[in-house]
Symmetry: C2
Subunit: 143 residues, 2 copies
DNA sequence: CACTATTAGATTGTGCACAATATATATATA
DNA sequence: TATATATATATTGTGCACAATCTAATAGTG
């Protein structure tokens, strides 16, 4: 019993810690752009394709409207995105990027590299980590 | 630029998603014990050694007092822990387990196994994941 | 057309994380 | 022994996560 319920013998705690540590390492760089990590994720989704509905963004990030609605309102307040109800279906809110929102991408593109350097992680390690994580995630999500 | 700032090409997002997914998988089992995932982590620290100060717990979980103080008060309210100021140094709050808190351990010990099964992750995968995560974490934390 | 079910978001409430600041106690030093 | 410094925890405020509920709009059915 002592061995099982030990922080050191569990996997959940290191994963949880690493996730927080990565976000912590992103913070100083994202601070310069005046966005949070979650807002950065939303913007990444929009930089790939735009406009998208709240629902589409939520599905890609596995976040519900209770998280997204206030977050998107903050991004709108900061003039990075626009929120417009679709005329053909008033239930749907389409999220688009402003000029500012588009411009942010060129500044953000440098960050992942900087974070990897700050954490002194090699690209081999990153790849190995990503593969095993995706393998496990694909069992519960995606597939 | 398109390749770098893509959810699929980043490692941070899968880690963040896996962390949330693990907590999500723990939830139904922890609900039965009426504790949250963060409270479960605190209890694990206490099951290993008891009593411990707020500071000691915070160092092990990398959590600050702004997170721990209200969390510990909730655990106290639920009668799982006790909070006592040390007579010899009134600044220090010592956290101990109640009878209830001790008993919870025998129920909690079964959970990690159940979660691994629910996520259909093999112990080989768990080990591989843990090793690469610890390797990366050791560069920024611990060492 | 009226009625039901479905869908898309919004709202509310709880519980973290974490930065910044405050408070209270203890220790060190002149 | 005053006073400065350090230490331990608490408080406050912001921003997620997420469950549960609500509202408004649309789509399907007889």
């Amino acid at each position: 019993m002592d061995e099982i319920l030990n922080l050191k013998s569990q996997v959940c705690f290191p994963i949880y810690t690493l996730s927080r540590e990565i976000i912590h390492q992103y913070r100083p760089f994202l601070d310069e752009l005046e966005i949070t990590y979650s807002q950065y994720l939303v913007l990444m989704v929009l930089w790939e394709q735009e406009p998208q509905t709240v629902n589409q963004i939520g599905k890609k990030l596995y976040l519900d409207s209770g998280t997204l609605t206030p977050l998107l309102k903050r991004l709108e307040l900061k003039k990075f995105i626009t929120r417009t109800r679709k005329p053909s279906d008033e239930r749907v809110v389409e999220i688009g990027l402003t000029e500012n929102g588009h411009e942010l991408k060129s500044k953000a593109v440098l960050i992942p590299q900087k974070v990897a350097e700050a954490m002194s992680v090699s690209s081999e390690e990153l790849l190995e980590l990503k593969e095993i994580v995706m393998k496990i995630l694909n069992k519960t999500k995606c597939s």
